[in-house]
């Protein structure tokens, strides 16, 4: 049943997707394992057309995501107004250690702990949608 006041989904232009992505501090990184996909919220930074995520050198993320295609998603949802937006970025991930991991924008993850590895997602595809009232 369609009603004029029901929200509708609108595609977002690429530039707006990048702006929304860059303004967020927490996103969700998704990668694939033999047991299926995994999704974890992480702190991140945007550098040009890549996404930087700092993590522990022994994490499941660095073991499974290096040289694999991953997804990165951010959104903002208003549960009262039933509106919001979501941006999905996809591309291959590269895991860097040591001096190479110190380059680029500084990301300080909220959880404490060792963060010797840097995951860099080279974004090849970005898309987003907004749910408008």
């Amino acid at each position: 049943m369609t009603h004029p006041s029901e929200p509708r989904l609108v595609e977002l232009p690429t530039e707006e997707c990048w702006e929304l992505l860059a303004a967020a501090s927490v996103g969700r990184i998704a990668w694939t394992t033999t047991e299926g996909p995994v999704v974890v919220p992480v702190n991140f930074a945007v550098d040009g057309h890549s996404i930087h995520v700092r993590t522990a050198g022994f994490s499941s993320l660095v073991q499974k995501a290096d040289a694999e295609r991953v997804a990165f998603q951010v959104d903002r949802i208003d549960e009262e107004l039933h509106t919001g937006w979501s941006v999905l970025a996809r591309g291959p991930a590269e895991v860097l250690y040591g001096a190479a991991a110190q380059a680029g924008p500084q990301v300080t993850p909220w959880p404490h702990g060792p963060r010797s590895a840097l995951v860099v997602i080279d974004v090849e595809l970005i898309s987003g949608r907004r749910l408008e009232p």
């Binding site: 998704a30 999704v39 991953v70 404490h112």
Partner: protein, 146 residues
């Protein structure tokens, strides 16, 4: 005794029972699946009923076309940037497409956007897991210093 201060910046496992409660506390979840273009993540309306997690989508979307019979994860979270704290709960299971006529009546699943979204997906909740990140202790948490 674990104090709030000890917990600051630490990730703690959330017991399964509490994970279900947190899942039900939010209307929007994010589904991740492995599609033709690699792994993808999109928000969906969801509900917990009949021992399973349910979501609805449009059969013409990539999610609707690709998730049936696949292993998927459904993630719900809540994050507070001010206190640098939050939680995340994930259900991992197999997505089963259910025709609208076969959906049990107790599955009360409304969707926000207009459009058909008449494809119901039931996720057999093989595993639920969650983690909570504690933010810094606030003055209210600590005893007055001497």
């Amino acid at each position: 005794v674990t104090t709030r201060h000890d917990a600051e910046g630490r990730l703690r496992v959330i017991p399964a029972y509490d994970c279900w409660g947190l899942l039900e506390s939010q209307e929007i979840a994010r589904v991740a699946w492995l599609g033709a273009g690699g792994v993808a993540v999109v928000p969906v309306n969801h509900t917990v009923a009949d021992g399973s997690l349910w979501f609805r989508t449009d059969p013409d979307t990539a999610l609707g076309r690709e998730c049936g019979g696949q292993r998927v994860v459904v993630e719900v979270d809540s994050v507070d940037a001010q206190t640098r704290s939050g939680w995340s709960v994930v259900v991992a299971g197999t997505a089963e497409l259910v025709a609208a006529a076969d959906v049990p009546e107790l599955v009360d699943l409304r969707v926000w956007p207009t459009g058909s979204r008449n494809l119901f997906v039931r996720v057999d909740s093989a595993e639920v897991s969650g983690r909570r990140l504690f933010g810094p202790a606030t003055p209210a948490d600590s005893a007055p210093s001497s």
